[in-house]
Subunit: 249 residues, 2 copies
Amino acid sequence: MTTRIIAKDMKRRLLLVSNSTLHGGGYLEHCQQQIKDFFGKGVARILFIPYALCDRDGYAKTARDKFNSLGYEVDSIHEASDPVEAVRKAEGIFIGGGNTFRLLKCLYDNNVLSEINKRVLQDGVPYMGSSAGTNVSTVSINTTNDMPIVYPPSFNAIGLVPFNINPHFLDTDPNSRHMGETREQRIIQYHEEPDTTSVLGLREGSMLLVEGNKATLLGTCKARLFTRGKPTTEFESGSDLSFLLTDRQ
Amino acid sequence: MTTRIIAKDMKRRLLLVSNSTLHGGGYLEHCQQQIKDFFGKGVARILFIPYALCDRDGYAKTARDKFNSLGYEVDSIHEASDPVEAVRKAEGIFIGGGNTFRLLKCLYDNNVLSEINKRVLQDGVPYMGSSAGTNVSTVSINTTNDMPIVYPPSFNAIGLVPFNINPHFLDTDPNSRHMGETREQRIIQYHEEPDTTSVLGLREGSMLLVEGNKATLLGTCKARLFTRGKPTTEFESGSDLSFLLTDRQ
């Protein structure tokens, strides 16, 4: 993990989406304009990483159909004979949602984690993540909502930003009779542990655009920031969140 | 892990509770009659394990107050100079809820996991778990609902029963607009993986009593059983679930 880059003034370009599908809409429909703006006309082919779901063929078809409709060709990494080489040649990367533990384990198993880090931070290859794909782009998967169905060799993730994200962030329902921890309580428990980072709670419909050292909140709703030892803060869509990139938060 | 016992005809006595607090009630109030029936008059002192919460002193006080009111003395393992020795001397064990990852890591860090297994399965020391304390009594924590705030050395748990439990089991809300996976979808994802066990979804208010090779569902609601490759099944309170104990399910 020590070989990964946490440099400043990097070329990174990231589109980190909270959720793949918004209630009542189609797959990636709610963020399709942002996807086109993000990959633009400079990228012709996108490398899709379907590791978070069991049915990789079906998942690749779903992603391919959507991206084709937006004008992009899709190569799925599970169809490549050499996954590391596929990352080395990628013009753009998209990691889709599903189970974050399965996804991270599979990134390690295929030795592509460091390579993705390098391609995005050194070479400026644009990276889009959705849900679990957003989780693994951060420091660690310590703030995923997913069930730990497999045991990855570490919770450390690709590290494209120096903080963590909680996708599908869910506000506490004051009428709930369920006594499991609320999402907010879970994130507060994370901050009880030493050496933990800030956590950006991205509600469904929101996403974070990162260009170099600039971060902007996009989408239809506010995001909630949890920083250890400080009050939680709400940010409107359009907010400049670049301060999250300056140091490990 | 290989030293742990998966023997039959064992003395084990377990009370595995879904949740510590039921909506509108006090701590362990909804299961206090079952606790008294379970520990009975043969046990005077109970060893409490507060590792799932950060504030161990506060947690021990909560547990002590409750168990004192039921006629039991409480020793908290975090107050013992030698945690392994505390398990060796325990007449009864209670592991409380909180974060399952923190709890399991701490059981490993203090080398008490195998010792608890031995005391319960070989020596017949009664074991009560609630929520996270129920999760860690099973084969693994693969079906916890908790956030992975720390990285335990394994997801393998104490192994007092040959299946997994999902505490705080929550039915799918047909009116929800949230697009994160439902609990049922998460457990189905677990069963997509190889070498996975049956999962008993214990709704809040329900609990499982295990006496030797007999398992009985107690409490106020039904439980839902997920077995790989089979339809899910509902069981009424009072059901005999001993078949879950015969083999690794």
